[in-house]
Subunit: 251 residues, 2 copies
């Protein structure tokens, strides 16, 4: 761990997200998990099941960020084209991974079913495997691109297997506080505080609950001392507006 | 309405989505709503609150798709930079919209609070307003880019106001059926069916429920006759594998 931020891009692959059939929950889990490991998700893209779209997104992301994590498209059916797209992006052939093939052969099946399952043993040449504790075929990585399943439980198992194996940077810590103040009431003070602490990101998120408007103030940064100072300044701004700081959290 | 597909890109703007603090639900709502209007969401990006990132994404999206819908970053605080970024993307100045300004002035407030609220009257020159039935300041559009709030209830009201006002293409209809078959058991048949109906998108999504593995087959296309034919073929493939087609849906 050094002072340089380690960054990631998430690529959610799948027509079912773009059609609205499925509500994605993978980005949120990946962002929280990587954040806890000192890796900052800086961008995410939802990409359709179209080879050129996936290849372009992978090549952009792997050249722009330290890590790329993809979800979706690694099953046994015709619409699972992620492995082929990763191979295309890296300009390498697809090969049969014998470790995966052996795993698949352990469960007997008729020849046509086995042939379909064997699609999941196809990986780009040079790929390393990503463990899958749920018992199904593993994911894989090529260089800085980690290819995971789309099913949340399987993706989560694959991601968990990477803990401690990735490069990490400073962990982004948070402070948050809420107040029953409209954003506009406190906007001037927030701008001044943000200007005073340019290295800490100060976000303002309005909410409506208990029949009242309120605002959540969220501070994100890597320096705990600066975070505490900024939190104090925000709390004072809330008090100066006649309200009480509530629900203070350190994360 | 003609036969040409009308396409859209969704840009989710906000650090809170990328940090994992907030689970996005706007993309799903926008995709379903636009789909019902004959507009196909082809891509989505989650972009941080960084001017260059937003400007680049807007310019890419508006040149690539018929419509662009953004969510987030149009409030009164320092981290709300979407209007400025849209102006930058189009190379036009920011102006005060007098309709919004009048709306804001109707609610009295101390001068500093009013000044912050007035940030929400700042729009790119030439922008048209997007109604906000929740009573707050409206969104806006410039050319083919529609700029909406990030709060789901407000975004939904803004999007609803656009019904009937957008160009539309053929509506993508769906057929779906499930079976307690593993994907691999039916993968061969699905591939043949997909090859037979190249203009209909056949998606295969595994699930696990009632302690059994199953697969949802989802067909998406604009020709109802072809959809019905494909559904019949998929049902026959399920029966040929000794299972019963279940939960048939027409959408």
């Amino acid at each position: 761990m050094d002072d340089r931020a380690v960054t990631a891009c998430v690529l959610i692959i799948g027509n079912e997200i773009l059609s609205g059939r499925t509500q994605d929950i993978n980005l949120n889990h990946i962002a929280l998990t990587l954040g806890g490991w000192g890796i900052q998700v800086r961008e995410a893209r939802v990409v359709p099941d179209i080879e050129s779209a996936i290849v372009d997104a992978v090549n952009y992301a792997r050249e722009t960020y330290d890590y790329v994590f993809t979800t979706g498209g690694i099953g046994p059916t015709h619409d699972d084209i992620t492995a082929d797209c990763i191979a295309e992006a890296f300009g390498v052939p697809i090969v049969i991974n014998e470790t995966i093939a052996d795993l698949i052969r352990q469960r007997p099946a008729p020849p046509d079913v086995m042939a379909s399952r064997m699609r999941m043993a196809r990986v780009p040449e040079g790929a390393q495997l990503v463990d899958n504790a749920t018992g199904g075929p593993p994911g894989f990585r090529v260089d800085n691109v980690y290819v995971m399943a789309g099913i949340p439980g399987v993706m989560q198992a694959m991601l968990a297997s990477l803990e401690g194996k990735l490069e990490s940077g400073p962990i982004v810590r948070t402070r948050s506080v809420t107040a029953f103040l409209g954003e506009s009431q406190i906007a001037g003070a927030l701008r001044e505080i943000q200007d005073q602490y340019p290295s800490v990101d100060l976000g303002s998120y309005p909410f409506f609950k208990q029949d009242r408007y309120g605002t959540s103030l969220v501070m994100r940064g890597t320096d705990e001392g600066l975070l505490d100072e900024m939190l104090e300044a925000v709390k004072q701004a809330i008090v100066a507006n006649g309200e009480t700081p509530q629900d203070v959290q350190h994360g």
